[in-house]
């Protein structure tokens, strides 16, 4: 905490808009929690961009996460349209306090850790929204949650985006195999390795511009709410930098469990399929963010992978694994909401309550980490063959 206070002190000197006010403890706590969420966001989502490239051998595991980390950091600086509001109108922003944000972040982090240990690619955005919805509900009542907006901005895209990416990837995969059928297969395999490395990098960049912004939005809003920044100001440099670094560090950390699921367990991927899946994901993300249609990178990328499995002749999709993923998607928002609500309830007890939540969060994180050591997935084992595809009945 002392360390955080130090950097915050320096931030004042950097930012001319900053007014000199006392930093309360809770602001520091929220910033640390936001960066912790950002870190889990990074390792949870490395798989989106890199899983298929690692699975096909287009990129070596450690090289892949390094590229992805750097591009996430670059992406954090590229984005200009910084999240003006962390909630996107899903909850009433005027009723969001630093304590509510903290409780929401706790819900999101815990859900991210639990799905990671199970190797399930779930949406970090849904976890964040869920946490905030639950915490706001408890702190300010159900009226402060805009359920119409939740359906429109979260649920509809959640159903539509993987379907769109899936159908598009299916068409792309079919086209690629059809066109290169008569070509020399050594040339085909070499060319698509390069193509896949490039398309995966594009997804990483798109991810950086989207997801690092959420943390910047959280921190900036907390600073504004506490009076440290003037209303309507953008994130100071130290916020952009720390958010970018946290998500990049998380990405480099790897999230090998989820990479294994997305690269090996859904379907066996060849380089042309990976290229089609990633291109579909990148284009869908870019097209929709350009049209102001919010979606989850995780859903889009998973949909693309399933589609590329369907689009290749003789490739089989393990629908059981796909089904588990969908269950995790459906549960993400309500589960994070329940944890966020619980945290908000405890935080009502005042500073001691907030402190206990922090301790509880650290305990969970430690427990999950120790649990993960019992059955580690590392860069060296991440491409190990999955269980054989059961014969179709």
């Amino acid at each position: 905490m002392a360390c955080k206070g130090f950097s915050v002190y320096h931030a004042f000197k950097w930012n001319s808009y900053a007014r000199r006010v006392n930093f309360s403890l809770i602001v520091g706590v929220v910033i640390v929690a936001a960066l912790a969420f950002d870190f889990t966001n990074g390792f949870h989502d490395t798989a989106n961009a890199m899983a298929t490239s690692i699975a096909t051998g287009a990129l070596k595991p450690r090289v892949a996460v390094a590229i992805s980390a750097v591009l996430n950091l670059v992406g954090a600086f590229l984005s200009i349209q910084v999240a003006k509001t962390i909630s996107g109108g899903i909850v009433d922003d005027t009723k969001v306090t630093p304590v509510v944000i903290f409780a929401g972040l706790v819900g999101a982090i815990i859900w991210n850790l639990l799905t990671w240990i199970l190797g399930l690619p779930s949406s970090s955005s849904h976890a964040l929204f869920g946490g905030l919805i639950g915490a706001t509900w408890i702190a300010s009542g159900a009226d402060a949650v805009h359920f119409g907006q939740v359906v429109q901005k979260v649920l509809i895209p959640a159903v539509a985006s993987p379907l769109v990416a899936g159908v598009v990837a299916m068409a792309g995969t079919f086209l690629v195999y059809r066109i290169t059928e008569s070509a020399r297969q050594d040339v085909v395999s070499r060319s698509f390795k390069t193509a896949q490395a490039l398309s995966a990098s594009l997804v990483s960049l798109a991810h950086g511009t989207n997801d690092a912004q959420k943390t910047m939005g959280v921190v900036t809003l907390t600073l504004i709410a506490s009076g440290s920044l003037a209303a309507g100001s953008g994130p100071p440099l130290w916020v952009i930098l720390s958010s970018g670094v946290a998500i990049a560090a998380g990405t480099y950390f790897g999230g090998w469990r989820i990479i294994n699921t997305m690269g090996k367990r859904i379907t066996e991927i060849e380089t042309p399929q990976g290229f089609a899946a990633e291109t579909s994901a990148a284009v869908t993300i870019l097209a929709s963010s350009h049209l102001g249609f919010a979606l989850s990178t995780t859903h889009v990328c998973s949909g693309g992978i399933v589609g590329s499995g369907v689009g290749r002749k003789l490739a089989e999709v393990r629908w059981g694994v796909a089904g588990q993923m969908v269950i995790a998607w459906v549960l993400t928002l309500p589960a994070a909401a329940v944890v966020g609500a619980g945290a908000a309830e405890v935080a009502r007890e005042g500073a001691f309550g907030t402190l206990s939540i922090g301790v509880f969060l650290i305990a969970i994180a430690l427990g999950v980490f120790l649990w993960s050591r019992r059955n580690p997935v590392t860069p060296d084992t991440v491409t190990a063959a999955a269980e054989p595809i059961p014969a179709t009945v």
Binding site: L78, I80, Q81, G148, V151, Q152, I156, A160, V164, A165, V167, V168, A169, A171, G172, T173, L175, V176, R178, I179, T180, S182, A183, R184, V187, V188, S191, F192, A195, L198, L202, L205, A206, T209, P272, F275, A276, T279, S280, A282, V283, T284, L286, A287, S288, S289, H290, L291, G292, F293
Partner: protein
């Protein structure tokens, strides 16, 4: 409730067209490369294949570059 079906349809359509174009062109480029390699193996220059490949890859890169441009300026 106001579900923006128009935007959804637009995203689906744009994604389908752009992805079909990029993956299709790239695949054609690969076929060009393959034709060149095959031609060289049999002693001819294979420049037609190379030209196809270069053109296709250039268009792919242009489309991707435009995508990044849109992201940065959005």
């Amino acid at each position: 409730m106001d579900i923006n079906w128009g935007a959804l349809g637009t995203v689906a359509l744009i994604a389908l067209v752009v992805v079909a174009a990029v993956t299709g062109l790239f695949a054609l480029g690969v076929r060009g490369l393959s034709a060149r390699v095959a031609a060289r193996d049999s002693g001819t220059s294979g420049s037609a294949g190379l030209t196809t490949a270069v053109l296709c890859f250039a268009v792919c890169i242009a489309v991707v570059g435009y995508g990044i441009y849109l992201t940065v300026t959005a």
